[in-house]
Symmetry: C2
Subunit: 323 residues, 2 copies
Amino acid sequence: MEQEQQKPYVIGLDLGGTNSVFGIVDRRGSIIATTSVKTQEQNDVEVYVDNCCTALKKIIEEVGGIEKIQAMGIGAPDANYYTGIIDNPANLPWKGEIPLAKMFSDRLGIPVALTNDANAAAIGEMAYGAAKGMKNFIMITLGTGVGSGIVVNGQVVYGSDGFAGELGHVIVDKSSEARSCGCGRKGCLETYCSATGVARTAQMIVSSSERPTLLRNIPLDEITSKDVAIAASQGDEVAKEIFEFTGKILGEACADFAAFSSPEAFIFFGGLTKAGDLLMDPIKKAYDENVLFLYKNKAQMIVSELDDAGAAVLGASALGWEL
Amino acid sequence: MEQEQQKPYVIGLDLGGTNSVFGIVDRRGSIIATTSVKTQEQNDVEVYVDNCCTALKKIIEEVGGIEKIQAMGIGAPDANYYTGIIDNPANLPWKGEIPLAKMFSDRLGIPVALTNDANAAAIGEMAYGAAKGMKNFIMITLGTGVGSGIVVNGQVVYGSDGFAGELGHVIVDKSSEARSCGCGRKGCLETYCSATGVARTAQMIVSSSERPTLLRNIPLDEITSKDVAIAASQGDEVAKEIFEFTGKILGEACADFAAFSSPEAFIFFGGLTKAGDLLMDPIKKAYDENVLFLYKNKAQMIVSELDDAGAAVLGASALGWEL
């Protein structure tokens, strides 16, 4: 039993719509072996899992065999930790309820758990990153959408059904001009503070004013959040205002989140955080100006320390240590 | 040790600005003895605690002595569970940091813990009320203010500092007409959905229109939420609209709270819930219309089963069972 707890490695799987990236990770959070399999066009999930296990077996042998592996964690969209099921994933090639944790566990003979990307990121941050030793924090992932992983008393909040922690879908604009969200509602945080939301803001500002900006050099519907970040870093005033607008909305939302769980930190992760202080300064400013007096000057606002390439795999792998 | 766990009673203290009400409570949630002491004008907290213990000792003897008592729980404003301190209470006669848990524990020789009123209500609901067996729910107290007690994985969420769960101070109106809140900010949920908030709504509607309503029989600045409930129950259209307005704001707010912890129930407690379906129907309607598809038709919206007179004492006492 004691020896079981000493197994040196876990497997992490970052399951994306295009690729499935595997890493074997040690207790320090170093990825010591890696492989990947295409997700796209793998229409039969049984064949897909078989292909994954074939690829995995090679790197498992490299590190000394399956008896060195404690468990496997999967970070995936629409994943439910309680059931181990991926439920009708919008961006994966499979329909219905996919019991992916069990499918991997049956083939590999080790415990397997899955959770959504943002929860995996939060667990990774606790195991290897900026949240080491923290019991109460909120992870906000700023990618194509806005995701969140909430940790209370050292545990990820999964709620009654496994789907808790969708702070990207808190309503931040109730006005008639609120933006439509992919979820079918209007005014969600994600419509403003995701990479897509920043691009929408840019397109609106560029098309509705005559102000000079580097962003006019790009066809309107091709402007991305990355373009805005590049322009802002070159001193473009319009681009800087776009980040101020985005950060203000996010900081105000975080002030409300504090009233829920009074976290010791908000940790931001994902593409948008590359904008650095252009985004973080307005977040901090809006947070300080809006948070209830009880919480003032308490929560840190920090950018994830995990490097982008490996972070999703690391996060998923960290789930393995909890099994 | 085993015998210690078999002690049949806990003490609950509901510490209010006017009175301090004590109850000795058994494991079923029956209050078997009760006493009270004035809080108001007890300017020396040492004398106050001495008076409390003198009153308590009588009822402790009645139930068989202190060796029958497992612990004591206190529900109080501005109370911090982690520290056992009441911190600069606005509505109590003492200033500074009052280590009330320790003061009672030293005198009585039993473990004592304290928490704020809304958290105590949530714990009481878990121990004796509608939340028996629930691991994830949100208690909303609708009194002079709006309080909340959030339970995740069977534990009250205290956050990093002991002050988590102030959902009455989530901002629900960012417009220029947002109402001023006692916390110094504008647009807090509490400015609309507390008893005071309902009275404000009534005063606004009565003074800004000519519509006939029973509420005109009352001097404008004396209209209370109770008056509105009485008028509504008599079929007064304006009064019913006031509850619809209140319930809509509260239901929309709860839809956002679901994105945080996906609770299996929202439990409403306090004076305003006496309005019954006049309030609950619009809450449910707004919740259903606004909640993210993931959470639809999941959470129950229920009114506390604990009777008003004893509920605060019961809630506080339930904290004792956790020690």
